[in-house]
Every structure is written in structure tokens, then in C-alpha cells.
């Protein structure tokens, strides 16, 4: 089923660089010269969102139009400031931060044109001022900024936008609609169906009130390889397809040490060859920190490093060694991440990023190892079925993604009760977790290596 859909889309000739450049030009045109107060850009995983933000910010600044940038986390803010400084070391950039110690990356202090302060007044006159939504919310201005860029706008809650929207006249909203939705720890059902439901995403509120704002989409993922983009696009972005900027054969993953024939090595070879690997453990109900699955994840990482992996890509024709820093492990829960870290430490591996989907959002690696959110579970819950969670985990890699999972997930999905309540006036979100999970699972089963620990 999926196969035929991919074929349809690759049938016509497609120049990714030209398509992406055309989309970027249209976005910049609307941002710099458009009449409307807002421009919305949907960016699938690895489609160059940060590059776009940096470029739009620099062009606005160059046109003599100072702007504020709103991001969601301190790490994102620091990253943006570093990228701006890298592109133009003399560009005056302000980093507004909280007064807590260690509120920003000390590396920013080294940058000559970057000024950091906890007070917005200290940063007056800077071309660009960057901060988190939480910090901006406590900031008062006499005159609103003429321009703003709101980054990760789909992960921003509507009420957070409400606290900062008074600070600017117009804004470019950029984000990935396929990742995890914002949530609230208390019930917000009473506002369901309202255009300004405070617990919904900033973009849904914005578009509900301004339906005719120009909306753009970045059409090319530069991160996801040709083996991954079609699946991720079809499973998580069914109505807004994108494709990979590279073709089959542009990227290569190879190992210096041959396979020892074990399940772990075979799944590595499968993933190196096809971009995907499923290491399937025997069916069993387990608690979240399934020791066998955790150990399997650690072993996969260990072998990835021990076998001297090397990645060839359009960036470097010479193979670049696959180092620990280029590998990530993704889990659904924090205690799983902690268990994997412990297991890796026992193998002497320390540099690998091990985190939950929430914390891996926006990051990029060569190879990812994923502990499937439904592995070993006796039941699927809304949390584990959430589309965004699986999307984040399946779309962080440039070369290959290896999923470790217990058998039986397909049955688990089939037995999942569907008795969801329906709120009037709330737009149904597609795809639903059930469909997306099945699509990914069906694809992974073609790259399955069974393994008995």
C-alpha cells in the first residue's frame, strides 16, 4: 500500500535544491514585503528550519528592521544565537536571559557582537534580540517591535503566544506540525472547540483567527535520507508530503569490522544497507525499563562504535567516522533513558545522547537507536500512541534508524479500544496514532531481525 504511494511521488523529475530555494524565496518575500501581519511556515523534520530562521532574521536586520526572536527553550535560543554569529560575527545580537545562574551557554560570552543580559533595556538598539517565550512574557516594551520570528511555533501553547503577541506587530511563525503537541497538566476540556483554547498550539489559534495568512511549507528534508523521507512523509504528514534532498546512494554507512553473525550485528548491517532495522525481541510483557530491551539497545550502540562505522554523505565524499557524538538513543520515558545510560556506562560508552522524544525534538544525528514506545507494554495508552512521539523518534537520523522492540506490538494495536470522546468544533488531527504506528511497523517488519537475548 505504502509502496505504491511512494512510487507516485517519485515518478516526476524533482530538483530538491530548486524546490527548496523557491519555497524559501516565497517565504522571505512574504516576510519582507507582504501586507499580512503573519506568515506561517510548516517545516518537516530536517527541512532547514533553523537555516530559514537565521536567514530571515539576517535579511530583516539588513533591511534596517530590528526584530525579536521567540524560541521555546534556552537550548534553542543559544543555538540560534550561535548560528547567527557563525553566519555574521559582526551582527549585533542580544541574548535576553533569566536571572538564574547558568541561564545561557557560556560560549555566547566569547562572541564579540553578542550581548547578554537579563534586562531588555540593556539590549536596546541591537539588531536582533533572542529569548525564550517564557522570558519575553515578563518583558515590557513601550513601542512594540515591528517584526518577530516565532520558532517552534507548533510546540508553543496558545496562552504563551497570548503573553508575547503584544510585543510585536507582525511575525513569521515557523515550526514542525508533526512533532509533539503542547499539553497541560490540568484539564482544559471546557475550552475545547474555542478558537483560542489556551491549551492548543499557538499556530492553531493564530490560523483560526487569521485563516487567510500566507502559509508555506518547506518541501525538502535535508536530514532524512531517501530511505526515510517517504515513510515519514506518508506516515506522519499524509496531506503535506515532502521528500528527501538526497537520493539513494548519496549516503552510505559502512563498518570496518565485519559482522559476527549475531542478531545485533545483522540488524546493523540491515540498517546500513536499507536505512532501517528492527531488532525484534521475543514477545513478553515487561515494565517500562525492560532489562533485556535496554541491554539490547546498549549492545546495538556498543557494536555501532566497536565495528568502526563510517558515514559517507553529500557533505563529505570521504567517509567520516561514526563517533559517539553522532549517535542518539531515543526513548518514550525518562526512566528508560536513565536505564539505557546506565547500561551504556557499563559498556564504557558515555558520549552518546540518550533522551526522551520530548528532549530530542529539533536535534539531528547520523544514526539513532530507538526503544519502541510500545515495546513490551500490556496496553497502548494515548501517551504511547501519540503520533508526534513516534515521529520525533523516527526522524532524527541522517543515515539509519534502528528500532528495538518486543514482538506483539501489531496485536497490541489491534486490541486497542477506540472509544475516544469527541469534542464539537475541534479539528480532527491526522494521522491518528494507530494508523501512523501501523504504517511504521509495517515498514519496519521488512527490516526485521529476530533476536533472543
Amino acid at each position: 500500500m505504502l509502496g505504491s504511494r511512494y512510487a507516485q511521488r517519485t515518478a516526476y523529475s524533482f530538483d530538491p535544491a530548486a524546490e527548496a530555494a523557491a519555497a524559501t524565496d516565497a517565504i522571505l518575500h512574504d516576510t519582507l514585503h507582504g501586507e499580512r501581519r503573519g506568515v506561517v511556515v510548516d517545516s518537516p523534520p530536517g527541512a532547514g528550519k533553523s537555516t530559514l530562521v537565521v536567514r530571515a532574521a539576517r535579511e530583516l536586520a539588513a533591511a534596517g528592521r530590528p526584530l525579536m526572536v521567540v524560541a521555546q527553550t534556552n537550548a534553542q535560543v543559544d543555538d540560534l544565537v550561535l548560528r547567527l554569529a557563525e553566519k555574521d560575527p559582526r551582527l549585533p545580537v542580544g541574548r535576553l536571559h533569566s536571572s538564574e545562574p547558568g541561564a545561557f551557554d557560556p560560549a555566547l560570552a566569547e562572541l564579540p557582537a553578542v550581548r547578554t543580559s537579563a534586562k531588555a533595556a540593556d539590549l536596546a538598539g541591537m539588531d536582533i534580540v533572542v529569548s525564550t517565550a517564557a522570558k519575553w512574557a515578563y518583558t515590557k516594551v513601550d513601542e512594540p517591535w515591528r517584526h518577530a520570528i516565532v520558532d517552534e511555533a507548533y510546540q508553543m501553547r496558545s496562552d504563551a503566544l497570548l503573553t508575547v503577541a503584544g510585543l510585536f506587530e507582525r511575525a513569521l511563525f515557523v515550526g514542525d506540525p508533526g512533532q509533539l503537541d503542547p499539553f497541560s497538566v490540568v484539564g482544559a476540556d471546557q475550552w475545547a472547540g474555542l478558537s483560542y483554547d489556551p491549551s492548543s498550539s499557538a499556530v492553531s489559534t493564530l490560523l483560526a483567527h487569521n485563516p487567510d495568512l500566507p502559509q508555506h511549507r518547506l518541501p525538502v528534508s535535508w536530514r532524512l535520507p531517501a530511505s526515510a523521507a517517504p515513510l515519514v512523509s506518508a506516515a506522519f504528514y499524509p496531506y503535506t508530503p515532502f521528500r528527501s534532498g538526497t537520493d539513494h546512494g548519496d549516503r552510505r554507512l559502512a563498518f570496518g569490522v565485519p559482522s559476527d553473525g549475531s542478531g545485533v550485528d545483522r540488524v546493523l548491517d540491515e540498517a546500513a544497507e536499507s536505512g532501517w532495522g528492527l531488532l525484534e525481541l521475543p514477545a513478553r510483557h515487561t515494565p517500562r525499563t525492560d532489562p533485556e530491551a535496554v541491554r539490547a539497545v546498549a549492545l546495538v550502540v556498543g557494536r555501532l562504535l566497536a565495528r568502526g562505522g563510517a558515514a559517507t554523505s553529500e557533505h563529505s565524499p570521504d567517509p567520516a567516522p561514526l563517533t559517539a557524538a553522532r549517535i542518539a538513543v531515543g526513548t518514550a520515558h525518562r526512566d528508560q533513558a536513565a536505564a539505557v545510560r546506565t547500561a551504556l556506562a557499563e559498556l564504557g560508552v558515555t558520549e552518546v545522547a540518550v533522551d526522551t522524544a520530548n528532549r530530542l525534538q529539533g536535534r539531528e544525528f547520523d544514526v539513532t537507536v530507538v526503544l519502541h514506545p510500545l515495546s513490551g507494554r500490556p496496553d497502548a495508552t494515548a501517551f504511547h500512541l501519540e503520533t508526534g512521539r513516534l515521529c520525533v523518534l523516527a526522524s532524527r537520523h541522517r543515515h539509519a534508524c534502528i528500532v528495538v522492540c518486543r514482538a506483539g506490538v501489531a496485536d497490541l494495536l489491534d486490541e486497542h479500544p477506540s472509544t475516544e470522546p469527541v469534542q464539537l468544533g475541534v479539528t480532527v488531527k491526522f494521522p491518528d496514532g494507530w494508523e501512523a504506528n501501523h504504517a511504521v511497523l509495517a515498514h519496519l517488519s521488512e527490516h526485521r531481525v529476530p533476536w533472543r537475548p
Binding site: G102, Y138, L161, L162, T163, A165, A188, S195, Y196, L206
Partner: protein
Amino acid sequence: MSLIETLARMEAVATGRAAPLATVRHRHLSEQPLVFVPLTTAGEAGAPLGALVGTDREKPALLAVPQPRNRDLRFAFLAELAESLLPYVDGFADVVEWEERKETDPETGKKVPVQVELCADAPQLIVPSAAGIDFVRLLGRSMRFRRTAEQEPEAPYPAPPHVPLLGRWFTHFGERARVPGASLLLSMTGLLTRHWATGQSLLEDQHLGALLAWIDPPARHPTSTPRRQRSAPALQGVSGRAAAERAESARDADGRLLCPPAGPATDPAFDNRLLAPAMARFDAGVPGAEDEIHGLIESQLRPTWDAVWHGIDLLRGLPPGARVADRWKRDRWSYTAHRDRVRAGEPPQPRRDDAVTAAQKLASRETAQAQLDAQEALDDPLVMAGRRLAGEALEGTVTAVEMAFSEGRRPMPRPLVTLRTADRTPLPERAKLYRALPDGKTQTAEFVAYAAEEPGALVVRLTGGMGRGRTPEPGSVPEPDDAVCWTLFEHAPRGGPELPDPEDTPWTHGGPPGATGAPEDTPDTATAEDFL
């Protein structure tokens, strides 16, 4: 469900009796609560069938609607309800304390202290179940936009006086009940499930009779109510499970459930076999039919009424948590503020919140939730045990204290405290920690490192709560062998940032409200024909 609660439920299965989930009472319980047990007509929104109301468990006021299809009879019910409730609600309005609060001076723009009234106590409504809270909200919505003859002499079907006012109070109680930890309006099932784990599921716990059967199996307390006394011999020594199953489905000779649903929904069998024929007799003008209906409705209400008071007795057996009064004070502020809005002649609450109000409510409820979580843990070792299990707190014994000072022009005390703990809490680098001091203040600290040579030992650096001097205030630094409990969560989490005024709602959220759409407080449409 946390593992500790799962275990408690299984313990309850094994012993046949509910197991404690709390060692103190986490909700304020008024000296004089008002119990409200409502029933509604099946299939009809806003057609109450009857209610028991009152503050005296021996003398509830019975309100009944002999024919809910009749608008006049429904209005008569609402008028009676307003008469029995409003004096209680108003009864707390005039006994006030003075509190100092900072307000912005409109001329200087500076924050200045002002003296404001705070009601010394507030009303507390207790309904049987969560559905009862929804019904209070529904009644509030159905009444607050009605117009009395005084307000609109020309309009047809005027509502009796006070009905719109009761609607506004019910709406306020209903909204307040959404705030975590708030206690102006509580459900008995919510109160009991917070404090006890039964040997059945949370879903089954929504049946008040079954829930009580687990917590206090009737055979052990044959004297609790006359009704139970009668059936006690048959239940000698039964387990909570048997008692709960009996409460769910046992019927008397007339086919009436011994333990009718706690409302507002009625038992369909009761409707069909007893109530409908009696209503037909009432419609036909049969003498005594109205009394018969009153009797029938009371028979369905009284067991629930008794059950609610039984629950109140059980809860009173628990000592209140130390921070419960602090939360109740916020309820008193809420009551006082609504009293002021009513007195100022403000219009009823709108049908739906505007963008700013919705965001404000969400933010304050999130803060209230964080505060409640923290306060319950600090008040109750059993709740703290759950947080420790979840890796959000750790308890240990101090083994060493080493004095140290901060760098800088004015060195401040920053003692290093080593403790030994059995809690395997994963601490991120420089994790911020909090500890409650005996005087109620909070001490902050920072995780330094795990002690290398000793498993289960770690070092933290105290960073606050020691006063302003160079020497820490007495008692503010723990000593060796002291037991200490550090949490990773804040003890008094603050609210979020200020929101714009509604008239400054930004363009992203549709601009100021009222710019489009109808005025929010127009009366409800009424249809001339009004029948079920």
C-alpha cells in the same frame, strides 16, 4: 496509577477492606458543610426531579417536582432551592477579616499596600459524586441567564426572584471546583477516593455506596444508620467486595435498589416501575399522588444523603494536613471576590470565557496543581513516599557537614552537607533541591556530587534559607544524624506571567472580545411549548 496506589488497591483486595492512601486529610472540611443531593429527570437537561438539601443531617429539606414537564413546577423547585441555599451562601459574607494586599496605585503606578476585606469563613457544598458537580454547573448555567419579572416585566415565563442569583453562585462554585485542591464545592466520591484505595477500579469507585462499602464495610458498624442496622445480621463479617457488590445491585421487594445511584441520574427501573405510574396518577389528579411522588423521590435520595454524611464522619477521623488551611484561605478569597462582584451589580458570568480569561484560568489551575502536589507531599509522608518512588524526592540521614562560603565581595555561608540515602533518585548535574524548615520556610540547595567511596551517599550545597548574615541562623543547617528530606520540586511554585487586559487581546487571538458576536448575557430563548 502510581505503584504505591496499585499496591494499596491490591492490599485492599487481600484484606477485604480499603487501604489508606493518605495519613492526613488533604481537603478542608467545614464545621458546617451544606450537603446537596440532587436528582434529575432522565433524558432532559435542566429538569431537576428533586433534591435533599441542608446542613443538619437529621433534617434535610426535601424538594421534589411532581411533574418535571411542567415549567411552573420546575420554577417552583428552583425558587425553593434558592431559598434553602442562598441564606447559607450569604451567611458567610459579613464576617470579615482585614488583609493587607499590594495593589497598583492608579496615579503613581506604584504598588502600595491596601487593606482589603477577606471573609473569615466560606460556604462549602458537598455533593455525592463528580456527576453532582457537573449538575451544579449545569444548574448554574440554566439559571444565571434567566430574567425575573422585576428585571424584564414584559418577557414571558419570568423566573422566580433569586433564581438568577443562585445560578451565578452555582456557576462560581462549579468553576472553582475545577481548581486543584479547592474546596468550596466537593464531591464525596472525590474526597473518599483521594484518601482511600479500594479493592476495585476507579471506575467502580464512582458508585458512592460501593465505595463506602469498601472503606467501612457495614457489618463492622451495625449502628451507623438505621437502614444498615436492618440488613446488618445478614452481612455479619462480609468483606468489602461482597458489600460493594451488594450495594451495586441488591434490590428490595418493590424492585428498588437498596443503594440507589447517587444521582443526579435515577435508576431506570425505578423510573419505569414506580415513578412513571405515580406521575400518571398525579397528571390524572388522583388525590395523594403528589405525596406519593414526594415519598418515592425521598426514598431514592435518603440513602445517598446518609451515605454522604457517613463519608463526612470518616473524613473527620483524619487529622487535617498542615497546609490545608492555607489552601482554604484561597477559597475564602475566591468567595469574597465573588461576593464583591455580586454586590457591585456585575452581570452574570459569560457563556464562554474570552481568550484572556481562559488563559488566566488555565495558568492559575496549573499553579494550583503544582502547589497542591507539593503541599500534599510535605503534609503527608505517604504522599512523599510516592514522590520518592517517582524519583522526585529523597530522604536520608546527614553524615557530615562542612562549612564553606561563597566567593565574591560578601562571602555567604554555603555549607556542604553529606547524606546517606536509600532512595535511588537520579539527580542531574547541579540539580536544585528544596527542603522544608521547621518554621515553614523553604531551604534551597544544589546537588554537588555522589560520594565516590560510599554508595548511596551524596553531597549537597546549601544555598539559601540561612538568613542574611555571615553565620547561618540557628537551626537552619542540619546536623549529623538529622533526617532530612530534599525534593526536586519547588514548595511554593509561583504563577505565570501577567496576561494582557481583555481589551488588549492581540490580533493573534482575535483582538478584544465583543468586537464581533452577540452580547454575552442575553437571556436564554424559551419555547412556548415546553414538554418532555
